[in-house]
Structures are given as structure tokens and as C-alpha cells.
């Protein structure tokens, strides 16, 4: 297997993009990534695109072909992968595998979702497709409800508090203020979160990531060649993926995310490092409890202590292990298919020292953790400067 690096990135503004179509978002992110790399369109050998529910959101499938078409990359093979909210991360992994194996040399990886074309209710139904439609969504268990069940279990078993969960949202909103691509540029307080209305108790409005439009793209190529075309190459030193049961009711327990734990463990092994070697991580905070469970599953703190660990400031940019410097899904926004790719872009910026006011000091190794549904898919990547 060859070493693979990211050599260019492109991101659209995340938010309610009324003025831009689904296609325009794809084109914008893709063109930016190609320009950033210094490569040309004709250099691209294949495309992998992550998108969760474009059929429900914009009536469009066949997203692989659409991406190639929008970027004028025909006739290269172009494939959409879907893994709910982990679609972007899995697309990145497919692209990584294609380059690592030598099947393709230069691969474009994109992620996109345009979620605001439908009503919030319809968006909820579309997102519900990430869980078990038959036994969860059909009987009313929308995603806030599923994560609320996990939160309740975590609270009961470990004493995690609503204030501790709120501290995740406060931190991530704070980080998002310094990210020009983020959906929200507004600091919030614990009090703001606690006073926001319950969506599904104990989760309140400000515990939930928003509905977002956006797209993200990166270009991958063998590290050896990457280092010759520019000085920004960021190497992917591990790429792992694991699955768990689709339905929460079938899990071993509700207080930890097993697929993330497995993918994380495999990633550390592949890279030959420990959690303490990671300088910063972008984790999947679709709800505040999800970030708490993620940092436990990834070994940044012991099981059950994620709430306290966060409340104490350890996951701040200046803390022991900065988490979601980009603002995360909560502050930056969560266009579901794009999220996994956008996470990789934050690591690229951090490792190149280009994260501005949210720059992590001495950033050497970055991690991304992207989750589908209530945890049935988890994808983990590790990165370092090439």
C-alpha cells in the first residue's frame, strides 16, 4: 500500500444557502479543491462523493455522475457512497483505498448535502432513514429521540449532567466564531443552552446540530508525488471503518459507541500511536452527548468521564486535547453528506498552521471521527504533515 496525502481542499460556506443550488455547491467545493492543489481537472482519475439523502432532499440520485459532470471530469469513474451522516468519511476512505492500492493515482473526494429545500419535518423523516426505519422512525423515534435515550442512559450510569452536555455546545459555538465557513457566528452560554427548549428531553435545541446546506472536497494522491506539487500535503496515516447494529435496541449497551471504539482502536494500531499522541480531533457532535461519547470511545478520557472532562476545559483549543476546533457539527453546521470531508479539511488547515485564531499549538497528529446514524457506521482517520 502506498502512502496517501491530501493535496488540496475546498469548502463552501455552511448554512442556509438559499441562493445556491445543490449542483452549485458541488461545483464550488470541487473547483476550490482543484485550484488549491495546483492540479488540473484532467489530472483527476476518479471521484468518490458522499451524500446521504439527496433523493429525499432534492429529488436527485446518481450523485457520482452528477459530480463528475459538474466538474467536467467525464469520463472518469465517479461513485457515490452513502453511510448516512458518515457518507463523507466513508467517501474519503474509498478514495484513500483507491490511491493506497495503486488503482488510481489522483482522486477527488467530495461530500454534499442540501437540506433546506424541504420542510424541517420532511428533513427529520429523511434523517430518520439513518436509523432503523421499521423499528425506530416508524414508531416516532426521530434522531433527537434516539440520542436522548443514549444521553439518559449516560446520565443514569455515569452521572453526566445537562450542564456538562451544554459545555460541549458552548465550546463548539465559541470555536465556530473563528471559522468563516461556519453556520453560526454567535457565542452562547451554558445558561443559553439550559434555557433553550427541549427537543427530546434531556436534549435541548442548543444540544442539537442544525439543518445545513454545504459541500466539501479534497484531492488525494500518493504522498511521494504530493510533496512535489506543493508544500501543503497532509498524509492520511490510518483509515478505518466499523459497523454496529442499525437499531439502538439491538446494541450491547446504550452508553458507548462500539463501532467508534473498534475503528478508533484499529486506527491507533495502524498508525502505531496512542490517544495521547493525537494533537486534536474533529469528532461527530451531531448532539452534545455524541461528542461526550466520542471522546470516551476514542480513548481521550475514561468511559463515563467525558462530561466532566469537557466541563473542565480539557477539550478547549488550549486544552489537553482540542476537540472540534472548526466548531464541529454543532457550530460549523452539519450538511450530513459533507461533514466527514469537512472534518478532514479542518485537519489539513490545522496541520498546515492555517487555522487562524483557532490554530492548535504544535499540531502534529490530527484525527477525524465521523458517525452514521446512532452509531451503526463509524469512520476514523488519522493525519500528519507529509
Amino acid at each position: 500500500m502506498r502512502s496517501v496525502s491530501i493535496v488540496g481542499v475546498g469548502l463552501t460556506k455552511f448554512g442556509e444557502q438559499w441562493e445556491k443550488s445543490f449542483k452549485e455547491l458541488i461545483a464550488e467545493a470541487g473547483v476550490k479543491a482543484i485550484q488549491d492543489s495546483g492540479l488540473e481537472r484532467k489530472d483527476v482519475n476518479a471521484v468518490y462523493g458522499g451524500c446521504m439523502a439527496s433523493g429525499r432532499f432534492v429529488g436527485q440520485e446518481h450523485i457520482g455522475a452528477l459530480i463528475a459532470d459538474q466538474l467536467g471530469l467525464n469520463p472518469v469513474p465517479s461513485t457515490r457512497v452513502e453511510a448516512a451522516c458518515a457518507s463523507g468519511g466513508v467517501a474519503l476512505r474509498m478514495g484513500y483505498m483507491a490511491v493506497a492500492s495503486g488503482i488510481h493515482d489522483i482522486v477527488a473526494v467530495g461530500g454534499v448535502e442540501k437540506m433546506t429545500e424541504v420542510s424541517t419535518e420532511d428533513a427529520g423523516f429523511a434523517l430518520g432513514g439513518a436509523g432503523d426505519q421499521e423499528t425506530e422512525l416508524f414508531v416516532g423515534a426521530s434522531f433527537p429521540a434516539l440520542y436522548a435515550l443514549m444521553a439518559r442512559k449516560h446520565m443514569k450510569k455515569f452521572g453526566t449532567t445537562e450542564e456538562q452536555m451544554a459545555s460541549v455546545a458552548v465550546k463548539n459555538h465559541g470555536n465556530a466564531v473563528n471559522n468563516k465557513y461556519a453556520q453560526f457566528h454567535r457565542e452562547i452560554t451554558i445558561d443559553d443552552v439550559m434555557k433553550s427548549g427541549y427537543v427530546s428531553s434531556p436534549l435541548k435545541l442548543l444540544d442539537c446540530s442544525p439543518i445545513t446546506d454545504g459541500a466539501a472536497a479534497v484531492l488525494l494522491m500518493p504522498t511521494e508525488q504530493a510533496k512535489k506539487i506543493n508544500d501543503k500535503a497532509v498524509e492520511i496515516i490510518a483509515s478505518t471503518q466499523a459497523s454496529d447494529t442499525l437499531a439502538l435496541a439491538d446494541r450491547e449497551n446504550l452508553y458507548e459507541t462500539k463501532a467508534a471504539k473498534i475503528a478508533g482502536k484499529q486506527a491507533y494500531e495502524k498508525a502505531g500511536i496512542k490517544p495521547t499522541d493525537v494533537s486534536f480531533a474533529e469528532v461527530h457532535d451531531c448532539f452534545t452527548i455524541a461528542e461526550i461519547m466520542a471522546i470516551e470511545s476514542l480513548g481521550f478520557c475514561p468511559l463515563g468521564e467525558g462530561g466532566k472532562f469537557t466541563e473542565q476545559g480539557n477539550t478547549q483549543i488550549s486544552g489537553q486535547i482540542p476537540i472540534n476546533t472548526s466548531g464541529g457539527l454543532k457550530g460549523k453546521g452539519h450538511p450530513v453528506g459533507a461533514t466527514g470531508v469537512a472534518q478532514a479539511i479542518e485537519t489539513y488547515l490545522q496541520l498546515n498552521g492555517e487555522a487562524g485564531k483557532r490554530q492548535v499549538k504544535d499540531a502534529e497528529i490530527g484525527m477525524t471521527h465521523n458517525v452514521g446514524g446512532s452509531g451503526a457506521t463509524a469512520v476514523v482517520h488519522l493525519y500528519k504533515k507529509a
Copy 2:
């Protein structure tokens, strides 16, 4: 790259499967494939599943995780790929790449679609997502209309007749009679096709493939090991994929399918063979005109002569190049995400001499050709007995 073989296959009955759920179809095909191979569930290292529009058809996304869950394969990585009606073929290609590259040893590839849970009108809208939603479906150009445009152009440029198109349907229905998994077991005549009502002139009801429920699965592993576990291994000797513009209006012309031509040419080059070396092929006959254009693009007859070539009987099982011995999409049925995998299963049966009354004599090399939308994705595979 390692040589890769199919070592087990599983297919559900194709048709209106009112008594089986989406999940049950997946489980049935997957379990059959594992049993057929003689492998066990614990041997499977990864899963790729093809599915086009489950979000629209059954309100379910996250199909990769769902497949792994249904088959008890957790925590292996499991990924859904979508390329409209070529989803199954692209999933097969992803699985092939994973094994060929040495990333995984044993991979399960599945395809599924349950299309009858929604009204025919809604199914039409879901399928329309395979084209360009903005410039085609939104203005009323459903898939029969898009293929009707191609048919009209082909008729005008080459003199192809409605009777010639009808001869595709007659042949494929005839072949389906001998396939117990096929949706239709009814011979039809040219007269039947000509008298069936216009769906979109010149295409009539019997020129169109049906709405179908079904699932298909195959197991892939390195040929060297495959030959040790049973004597049925069928080697994939080429796997290629190409893209074209999403919208018909952006194509170079309407009378040939460029992506299929490119993918076909690449496949012949990789395998080091010519079209005349192919013993039989399963091609994407979503409409009768599509089969005519496919056999031209794949080099089985000259451009423009596909209609006459078919009418003369050259594509019959006893003909020069048997096409769609399984009954094709027209006779066997077209559960869109499953089709590409089901095509591979027909080649496995033919090359093992297990196709019963539809067996091709001296079958040595098989081909599958799976198309997304009106031709924006084309996937071609070549096979021979390992």
C-alpha cells in the same frame, strides 16, 4: 493486483414481493450466497451494497450498516454505493477493487431494491432522480421519455424500426420463461408488443422493464484461495467504469452511449480480448432501445445495426452472441440496485454450466454491462471460469 473470483451467489425471486420486507430480501440473498460458497459469516471482511433510492422507496438509508446488521456481519466495514440503476454493478466493482488490491480478502457484494411499496407515480419520480432532476424530471421528462428520445434519434439516423425494438422484448421474455427467479414467465410476440399501449412514443408498455422487488448477492475472494474452497469459482477478468453527462441534452449525440463504449473498450483491453471472444453478455435493457444501443457500444455489431442484428436472431441463446439469457431487465425484472449483481450471477451460472434450458453452449467468456440513468454511468465486467 490479485486475481479475484466469485465463489458463491444468492438471488431472491424477482417480482412483486408483497410478502417480504426490504430487510428480508437482503437477508435471503446474502444467506444464500454465503451458503452457496461454503464460507461462513465470520470469514467476510467487508461488504459493499448497491441500492439506488431506498430513501424514496422504503424510507431507509444507511444501507451498508443495514446489510451488515441483517447478515450478522458486524463490525466489518459495510458501504452502500449508489449509481442509479448501475448501483449493483458499481458495488461489484468496489468489492472487486477491495479484493484485487489486497485491502480485503473476502468481500460480500449485494444489491437490493424494493420498489412496490410506493405508487407507480412515486416510483417514477424516484427513478427520475437517475437523470438530471433540474433539467429533465422537473420539466416532465421521465425515464421512458428520455429513452424515447434516444429511440427516435436512432430510428431517424439508422432506420431502426419499432418491430426491431419489439424483437428485443420478445427474445428476453422467451429467455425469462426458463429462469425461475424471473418476474415474468410469459412468452410474448412482436404483435403483443406492437399492440401494447404507448408509454412514451415510440416506446410501448412491452418495450419497458418493470417495477420490481428483489435482491442479489455474491461473495468475492482471491482466485487462488477460491479454487481451494469449491470448484465453481468464476474469475472477474476486467472491471471498468466510465461516466458521461447526467443530462441527455449535454451529450455529444443521442444515438450512442459513450460511457458504455469507453468502459467496454477498457474492459477488452484489460482482458486482452475482442468482442468476438465474448460467449454471451448480460446487458442493461431497461428499455428495448437500450439493448440495441448496448450491443452496438460493446462492439457486438456495427453502430446503427443493433435493431437488424437482433431481428435476425443473432442475440438469441443459439445465436452468434447470446444477449440477456437470464431474461434481462425486461423479462427477469429490474429491482434497480440489484440488477448489476444479478447480471453477474447469470454469468456465474452460465460459466458453471448451470443455466439449465437457457445454457449457452461452450460458454467461455461472459460480460455484464450495467447502466445508470440514461447512460451517465456505465460499468462493464468480464468473466471466465477460474
